[in-house]
Structure formats: structure tokens, C-alpha cells
């Protein structure tokens, strides 16, 4: 029920605030999505879509930080492996 899928805004098709709408591509599958909850989202950005409504913009910088955290863990693992007899 709380599933949400990330997709890329291709173009904004309606700017009226309550009916704000965009064409969003989900890996090539294009669907109309309500942007009423994201008044500032624009073409080229990725949004999380739930029940036909975009609920948040995916922050590319923060996404990169998550992957960095992973790399840090890997480095720690390697350090510890190096230190173990």
C-alpha cells in the first residue's frame, strides 16, 4: 500500500496547482502523474510516485551519500580483514 516507485519527469502537462500534472517515465513506461503535492518539481527530476501522485523529489546528492556510506563500510571491512591475524 505504501509502495512508491521512482520515475523521471519528462514534461509538465498542466500547471494549475490542484490539477498539476506531468508525464513520468518509469524505466521507459510513461504515465500521467499528479504533481499537486510537489509545486516546485520540474522536468528532468526524479520523483517517488504513489497511487498516481508524486510524493517527493528524489535528491540525487543524498542518494550518492547513501552509496558512499556503503563504500565506507567496505573500506572498514577491508581494514579489519587486513588487521586480523
Amino acid at each position: 500500500m505504501c509502495l512508491a516507485v521512482p520515475g523521471e519527469i519528462l514534461e509538465i502537462t498542466e500547471e494549475d496547482p490542484l490539477a498539476r500534472q506531468a508525464k513520468v517515465s518509469f524505466g521507459g513506461l510513461v504515465k500521467p502523474v499528479s504533481l499537486a503535492l510537489l509545486p516546485e518539481a520540474c522536468a528532468g527530476e526524479y520523483v517517488l510516485v504513489h497511487a498516481g501522485v508524486a510524493i517527493s523529489v528524489v535528491d540525487a546528492e543524498e542518494a550518492e551519500k547513501t552509496l558512499e556510506y556503503l563504500r565506507e563500510i567496505d573500506e572498514l571491512n577491508e581494514l579489519e580483514d587486513g588487521a586480523s591475524p
Binding site: C2, L3, V5, P6, L48, A51, G52, D59
Partner: protein, 371 residues
């Protein structure tokens, strides 16, 4: 798919499980609140990659499962009315009410349609001006804004034939109910990532402080979940109880301002009955004064509905994390997705459905073990 594939890397998953193993020195029970997370954990076998010290406990975050049977019965009563079109999410079609389910009513000629979005139900109302269209609006804070948007859109278009049967629930009061229970065995939480895209992470800070429990807001992909578990285990090992945000790419501390403002306009906080958990004060939402005209319960005569629950289904204990699906004597025998006794076996987010789909070997006929 960008923002999905990179979080499903098998090698990274195994390395992360190893990092968790190195961090743990004693037992911890971590509850994932959200049913979508439960499904990902069971589907990808993440719980089986964890060290024995870390137990994952499945929480009540399946809106289909916690919708009171009385509301299911009301939806069924509405669907049986000749001038009504009842629209709902597909998940609700086979949830057992006291005697029937919506699919059974549809088979007998009731006009039940499942829609992808509440906004689709508004479209159905526009296309059928001679009939009453009711949307069965269930969900958590993630879904509530889409429901609010549908009501506000119907109001703006002056649709007199659209209304909503509202059964919306809030996560923080349910967490508090679990933490206040005498038998609570939860040491830490994975917070519900998509609920927090709307509400932010800040409303979890008082809970972490009051109950001295770490809460890590987590995403839904395998790496998100394992990172969330890693962060939570690190907190537990260090004796910390902070709210941390693993899912910062989609969750801001204050959430989505436009969505929160819309919720405040269209809904108000109300007491709520939870299937399996009972009544929880201030844990639900109902239509606000300004939008009360769109309340299906006020528009239709539904007073005669009396709810009865299956006596055999142990969904209450499952939803509180006290038992696992295969602890139920009916699991996989008298209760299956084709013939469900309770909602957790029906919903795509129910714990019973996840175990049945991904671990059918756990049915009691084969083993008494619940892994």
C-alpha cells in the same frame, strides 16, 4: 530502473550483512513497521542473511490488514446498493468481512471497480453523473494525501455524486501502542520511509526520547533495509536512541509541506479502531468540517452493519509482532491466499501473505519451525 537497481546489488548486500555480523555483540529485536518493508525482507531473504543475534519483528504497517472489519462490512453494504459504484484499491477486493468480501458482491452484480489512484475514482464520478461513486479510502500517511487530493478535486469540480468511506491510520500512535504494551520485546525500529516522505522524520523524535528506542527511517530496497538495520544495530550497541534517516534521498526532516497542509485542510485527527490492535486514541483521520459532505458514512444509511471477526485468525498478535505467521495453526492449511481467514493473508503487504508466497515450506504440514 534508476534509484532501484543500484540498491539491489547482490555483492553489496552480502558485504553489508557481513558488516552487521561484525557489529553485533548481543541480541537485538528490530521491528520494521511497514508492510512493504516486510515483503522486501521476506522476498529477498534479508532476515536469513542476518546474524542469529538480530531478530526482525514484523509490525502493523499494512493498512489493508488493520482496516476494521466493520469498515469492510460497510464497503460491502455500499457495493451492494444498486445506484452505487464502489471504487477501491485492488488489495481490498478479497479481504474477508463478517460474511462476504467485495469480490463476492461483484460476482453477484455489485458495481465494484478497482482503481490505481483515488483520482481515478473522481473521474468515474464525472463519467457517471447519474450514479453515486464511493471511494473506499484506506491507508497510512503515505496514501492520505492522495485521498485528500481526490476529495478536494471533487469539491472544486462540484461533484455531488462523489464521496469517500474513510479509514485512515497514523503510524506514530500505533508505535506508541506497541511500545506501551506489557509484552513489548522491540529494541529498535526501522521507520516507515514513505510515510516519512509526507510527515518527515521529526514526529518520531519524541517517541525515540520517551521510550529510549532507536528509530532509523529506512527505504524499501534490500540495501536500504540492511543499511537501516546496520545503523539501528550500531545505535543499540552504543546505547543510543536517536532518530536517524537512512532514506534521506526521499525524506526530509519536515516532510512534504504541501502534502501536510492539504492533510490539515481536508482531514482532522480522530480516534481509530485497528483490526487486530483495538482502539487507539488520536490514531486516525476523518474528513474535516469543511469537507464533511463528502463522507459516505453520513450520506448513506449504514447503521445496521454489525461486525464479526474470525475466531481462529491470530492477526492481532501477528500485527503486534508477538507471533510470526507460521506460529498460526491455520497457516497454509485452513488459511491460504485463496481462502483467507484474515486480512494479513490477503494483502500484498500482509506478513502471512509474504511468508506463504516466499516460504511455503514453512506451512505446519512440513515443519513446526517458524524461521
Amino acid at each position: 530502473m534508476k534509484y532501484m537497481d543500484e540498491y539491489r546489488d547482490r555483492d553489496a548486500i552480502l558485504r553489508l550483512a557481513e558488516a552487521i555480523r561484525r557489529t553485533v555483540t548481543r541480541p537485538h529485536a528490530i521491528m520494521e513497521i511497514c508492510g512493504g518493508q516486510t515483503h522486501a525482507i521476506v522476498r529477498f531473504g534479508l532476515d536469513q542473511l542476518l546474524p542469529d543475534e538480530v531478530t526482525l519483528v514484523h509490525g502493523p504497517g499494512c493498512p489493508v490488514c488493520v482496516t476494521p472489519v466493520e469498515m469492510i462490512d460497510k464497503a460491502i453494504a455500499l457495493a451492494a446498493m444498486p445506484d452505487v459504484i464502489l471504487c477501491t484499491f485492488g488489495d481490498m477486493m478479497r479481504v474477508p468481512g463478517s460474511e462476504h468480501d467485495l469480490l463476492g458482491i461483484k460476482a453477484r452484480g455489485g458495481d465494484v471497480r478497482f482503481v490505481y489512484s483515488p483520482l481515478d475514482a473522481v473521474k468515474v464520478a464525472e463519467e457517471n453523473p447519474g450514479r453515486q461513486v464511493v471511494f473506499f479510502g484506506i491507508g497510512f500517511e503515505t496514501t492520505a494525501p492522495a485521498n485528500a487530493l481526490a476529495v478536494k478535486t471533487a469539491a472544486a469540480r462540484q461533484l455531488r455524486n462523489f464521496s469517500m468511506l474513510v479509514s485512515l491510520v497514523l503510524v506514530p500512535p500505533a508505535m506508541e501502542a506497541i511500545l506501551s504494551a506489557e509484552r513489548c520485546a522491540v529494541n529498535g525500529f526501522l521507520g516507515p520511509g514513505h510515510v516519512c516522505t509526507i510527515m518527515g522524520s521529526e514526529e518520531y523524535e519524541p517517541i525515540a526520547r520517551k521510550y529510549r528506542v532507536p528509530i532509523v527511517i529506512s527505504g524499501f530496497e534490500p540495501l536500504d533495509l540492511l543499511l537501516g538495520i546496520h545503523m539501528c544495530v550500531k545505535q543499540l550497541e552504543a546505547g543510543r536512541c536517536d532518530v536517524e534517516n537512512q532514506y534521506a534521498r526521499s525524506v526530509a526532516r519536515a516532510g512534504n509541506a504541501a502534502a501536510r497542509a492539504l492533510l490539515q485542510e481536508v482531514f482532522e485527527i480522530s480516534p481509530q479502531q485497528w483490526r487486530g490492535l483495538g482502539p487507539i486514541p488520536a490514531s486516525g483521520m476523518r474528513l474535516s468540517e469543511a469537507y464533511r459532505d463528502f463522507d459516505a458514512e453520513g450520506r448513506f444509511e449504514l447503521a445496521g452493519v454489525v461486525a464479526r471477526e474470525s475466531e481462529e485468525c491470530i492477526s492481532g498478535e501477528i500485527l503486534q509482532g508477538l507471533k510470526k505467521p507460521c506460529d498460526c495453526p491455520a497457516f497454509g492449511t485452513r488459511c491460504t491466499p485463496d481462502r483467507p481467514l484474515g486480512a494479513p493473508m490477503v494483502s500484498s503487504e500482509g506478513a502471512c501473505s509474504a511468508y506463504h508466497r516466499y516460504r511455503p515450506a514453512l506451512a505446519p504440514a512440513q515443519t513446526g519451525e517458524c524461521a
